[in-house]
Symmetry: C2
Subunit: 333 residues, 2 copies
């Protein structure tokens, strides 16, 4: 059924090596030989078996794309851009869904068994040690949307979560909010603490502003809704909330609406990410934009670089985030 190198060689009346060489860029083949082989190959519909080839070349062009964020709308965009970007460079994404696992070992073994050339861990919630497991196994790895560290153990790309927190705080202050609060996702999610600490640090500069914080059970609509309902019930009467994520913000908005309160008149809300739906007219969420496209482009460039030179010393690269003004904060004073 499948046509092999031998079939082509036999039909073209040449050696196996000759056929192999015509399909290996940069190998030495004469023009006559090349056309003879190509004719035979076309006739038979031959194309080389990548996996057999990988046995000797030690390169599969497979990249493990590992994530546990299959429930955040921004990740649709993330997957789209990663898969397209990888494809454009002749690489193939082998998708790994970690939703049910927190341990890296199974994925590490599996990806080694498939001889992937490298791994991209795309997650803002996995612990930093996670990506390291791949590195320890000798796989080039890039952690996208990970947490900044001065001397990271693997390459990390992401926004400056501290600056992000400061930006949010600054905006709330510039709009005259006096009693503000941070509502994060789970405390142990990588980025949560940094966003909070940046937020608090900035607020310390303003002694007339009160600040509190709490954490939702997950980065989800329901969790945001529940947590905000609890806060309102408990009488935490903050006049503005910085939510650690857009979906969380929308959940919060729904709880606020249920209470009969109005945004931004009674309460202000600002999110993070700038998912597509944040711009939909009936959501219209003021939020902090993460430069996904840039982060993904750089991640891909980086992994491609690592394939050539796997020993580059790990760095953390930070990307700036920007405010997207919409309708859930009152105007600047």
């Amino acid at each position: 059924m499948t046509v092999t190198l031998d079939d082509v060689a036999r039909r073209a009346g040449v050696s196996r090596s000759a056929v192999s060489r015509t399909f290996t860029p940069g190998a030495s083949v004469s023009a006559t030989m090349r056309t003879k082989v190509e004719n035979a190959a076309d006739y038979l519909g031959y194309s080389p078996n990548f996996l057999a080839r990988s046995l000797t070349t030690r390169s599969t062009k497979l990249i493990g794309l590992v994530s546990n964020n299959f429930h955040n709308p921004i990740f649709l965009e993330v997957f789209d851009q990663f898969t397209r970007g990888l494809q454009d460079r002749g690489l193939r994404p082998l998708l790994v869904n970690l939703t049910n696992e927190k341990e890296a070992s199974a994925s590490v073994r599996m990806l080694k068994q498939y001889s992937v050339d490298g791994v991209i861990v795309a997650s803002s919630t996995l612990p930093p040690g996670f990506s390291k497991a791949f590195r320890d196994a000798g796989l080039p790895v890039v952690n996208s949307f990970g947490r900044y560290e001065v001397m990271p153990e693997v390459h990390v790309l992401g926004i400056d979560d501290i600056a992000c927190g400061r930006l949010a705080a600054g905006e709330l202050i510039a709009r005259g909010y006096k009693k503000v609060a941070f509502m994060g996702g789970p405390f142990d999610a990588t980025s949560t603490q940094y966003r909070l600490s940046g937020f608090e640090k900035e607020l310390q500069l303003y002694s007339d502003v009160e600040c509190s914080h709490s954490f939702a059970e997950a980065y989800s609509y329901q969790a945001g809704r529940i947590e905000m309902a609890r806060l309102l019930e408990a009488g935490t009467n903050a006049d503005a909330y910085f939510c650690g994520d857009d979906v969380l913000s929308v959940g919060a908005l729904s709880a606020i609406a249920d209470k009969g309160l109005h945004v931004p008149e009674d309460i202000g809300v600002i999110g993070v990410n700038d998912m597509e739906m944040a711009g939909w007219h009936n959501i219209n969420l003021t939020t902090i934009h993460q430069p996904f496209a840039e982060i993904i482009q750089c991640s891909i460039n980086l992994i491609v670089g690592l394939l050539a030179d796997p020993n580059k010393v790990p760095e953390a690269t930070l990307f700036p985030c920007t405010l997207i003004e919409r309708g859930t904060l009152r105007p600047r004073l």
Copy 2:
């Protein structure tokens, strides 16, 4: 760096075949041999190379997961469930993003080169001939979310688009709408025509109801918004719209709001899919639910079945869809 069969064999002082057999379920190995090999393997950290193995077994456990719907929020859920479901059965999804292509040939060649065991085409907008290209290349293929045909050329699973159109029509009638319209995505998208034809067929039973239709440029928020704005501007004063997709519906809602009109008082809107955001309070879209989980489960079962018996004659399987009542249609009379 990587430890091979030979290393283990040498360390355990046994033949290569013995090692291979301990890692091949159902092969004949004595208990003594097994422990000897396993000890050596554990010591060296050995696990077999799947790709080398695939050369002789002719099975890679790789499944091509092909889609062009990377911009519809429901597909996050789709990818989540497909990847999880495949993983649970020991299969690995090789993701192919077709966003920029309409031709199958490149993907077919690529997936053959990677010797995938089968292909899942998950798309509601690719032409039926697309999946056939995989079959013609000798790859087992399942087309999920495809269009029903009595004698399909490949296995197809999806909702009954005609029934879906009828359901929408029936609901609009039951709520007393008299001048209704269908707003589809691109006319050539697989499912669009069937939904329209079901919709019209049902309406023909009611001579006092007027019906018109139009098509947006894409299944997207912007396209829905633009098309609805155009309709309102043109004075197509329908009192209810059946939109071919939820995202399209939200776009339509935004154009309606911009005109200062209210939903459902002035205009009713019903969508299709029941994406997660449709349930968010500030969207609150009445829509028709597609049973994604069931379709995906069955697709996976089917592809697994095809791996064992690739020659099963292709069938189309239909799944029922159901109304999800929310706030964009007025109540039944």
